[in-house]
Amino acid sequence: MKTDVLIIGGGPAGLSAAIETASRGLDVTIVDEASQLGGQLNQQTQVMRQLPSVYEPMRGFELANKLIELIKDCNVRQLLNHRVVGFYADGSVGITDEENVFPVKAKKIIVASGAAEKAVAFPKWTMPGIMTIGAAQTLINRDFVMPGREAVIVGSSDFAMETAIQLMDVGIRVKAIIEKQSGALAKEQEKVSELSRSGIPFYFNSFIKEARGNGQVEQIDVALPDEVITLNVDLVCMDGGRAPILDVFYQLGCSFGFQEELGGWVPQYNNRFQTDREDVFIAGNAAGITTQGPLLLTGMIAGISASEELQAISPAEANEMREALWKELGLLEYREVYSGRVKHLENFASPVLKDQFIS
C-alpha cells in the first residue's frame, strides 16, 4: 500500500493532522489499534472550554464525533484494529491486522501515539480492582460498567478530580482522595471544592501502605501523617501522571530530549513539529503531555508542515498559519508546559550533549 501521509494514532491530534493534510488533497491513511477513532476523547464526558477558536466548547465525545465527521468529508483511509509493529529496511511501515503484517510506503509519517498512564506502586498494587483513573473512566463512560461500589482515588490532578466526580455521578461512593503532596495538585480548584463540599475527605501527605483481598482488592491501609487507617474498598483508582508513548520513535531512530514539564523523555522536534528524521512529524501528547486544546493545535501544525513539504500548500501560507497556531498554543497551554515546550525546541536547535539521548 502507498500513501502520501501515514498518521499513527487516531486521537484528537492524529485526527486534526488528518484534517489539515487530507483537506488539501493529499492521500492520507490513519492507523489506530482501537476499533473506533477518537482515542481517549471517546470517554470524556466533561465540557472542554479551552479549545482552538475554530471549535465551540463541547464535551469530549462530541469533539471526537465532530473530528470524525470532518475527516469523513475528505476521504481518509482508516486502518482500525491495526497496529504499527516495525519498519522495513526500505522505510516502509510494518502494519498488522493481528494476523498478517503488510508494508505501507508513506512519503511522510505523522506520529500521534499519545500518552500512557503511569502506575503508583505499593504492596499488592497489581491486584484486580486496582486500576488507573483512565481505566475507571473508560469503564463507566465507554463500556457502561460499574468498576466497583466503594472507591478511593490516589492522586489529585485535574484528571483525577474530574474522574472522581464522574464516578460519583454514576453512583460510586468515593471514600477518600489520597495525595502524597501537602495539597491538591489540580489547577481547576473548583473541582477540588466541589468534591470537598460533597464531604469527601482529602488525605494529604498520605499514601497507600498496603492493599489486601482474596483475588481482588477488599481493603487498604492508608498511612496518614500520624496514623494508619483501614478502609474497605473494592476499587482503587490511581493517577501516577502520564508519559509520552515512544515505541515508534525508538524504532524510527529519532533523538530524544528530557523535559520535565512535557512529561519526561520526549522526541526532539522543531517549530514545524518535525523530528530529526525529516520525513517524520510528531503531534499530540507524544510531543509533550498537555490539555485538549493544545493537542489539537499540535496536530494542526504537524499537518500543515507535512502538507507544505508535499507541496500541497505554499511555504508562505504555511508559515503564516503556523505562526498563528503557535500564538494560540501560547494562549491555551498552561504556562509551564508552554515554556517547557519552548525550551525543548531550543535544546534541539542548539544541542547540549547532556540534554540529549540518541537511541
Binding site: 500512557a116 486500576m131 455521578d169 483475588g215
Partner: protein
C-alpha cells in the same frame, strides 16, 4: 453491574449478547470490551501472574499494560480490554504461559 442509564449519555446498552466465562453464560452488550463485560458480572480476576501466580485484572484498559490477558475463542494471550464481546464468545482466564512451540514438520 451494567450502567443501564448513564447520567450524561443516557441509555446506551441496546444489544445484549451472551458470553461464556469458564463455560458459564453471562450477559454483556455489544461494543463492551471483554474485560468490562466480565467486570459487569462481578468477575475481576482475569488471570494470574506467570511467576508468583498472583491475581491479575484490568489495569489500564488501553491495551498497554497486558495485565488483562485471557484466552478468547481458543486464542491465548489476547488483551481482553481491547477485544469487543461477540455473541457466544468463549472466554477462559489466563492461568499460565501459552504453548508457543509447535511441531512444524508433523506430516
Amino acid at each position: 453491574m451494567h450502567i443501564e442509564k448513564h447520567p450524561v449519555l443516557g441509555r446506551k446498552l441496546h444489544t445484549p449478547v451472551t458470553i461464556y466465562f469458564n463455560d458459564q453464560p453471562y450477559q454483556a452488550y455489544t461494543q463492551q470490551s471483554v474485560a468490562a463485560a466480565l467486570m459487569a458480572n462481578g468477575i475481576k480476576k482475569l488471570g494470574v501472574s506467570r511467576k508468583l501466580v498472583q491475581s491479575r485484572g484490568l489495569f489500564c484498559s488501553r491495551g498497554r499494560c497486558c495485565s488483562c490477558y485471557m484466552t478468547i475463542d481458543g486464542e491465548d494471550h489476547v488483551r481482553s480490554c481491547m477485544t469487543e464481546v461477540e455473541d457466544g464468545m468463549r472466554i477462559y482466564p489466563n492461568m499460565d504461559d501459552p504453548e508457543v512451540r509447535r511441531e512444524i514438520d508433523e506430516d
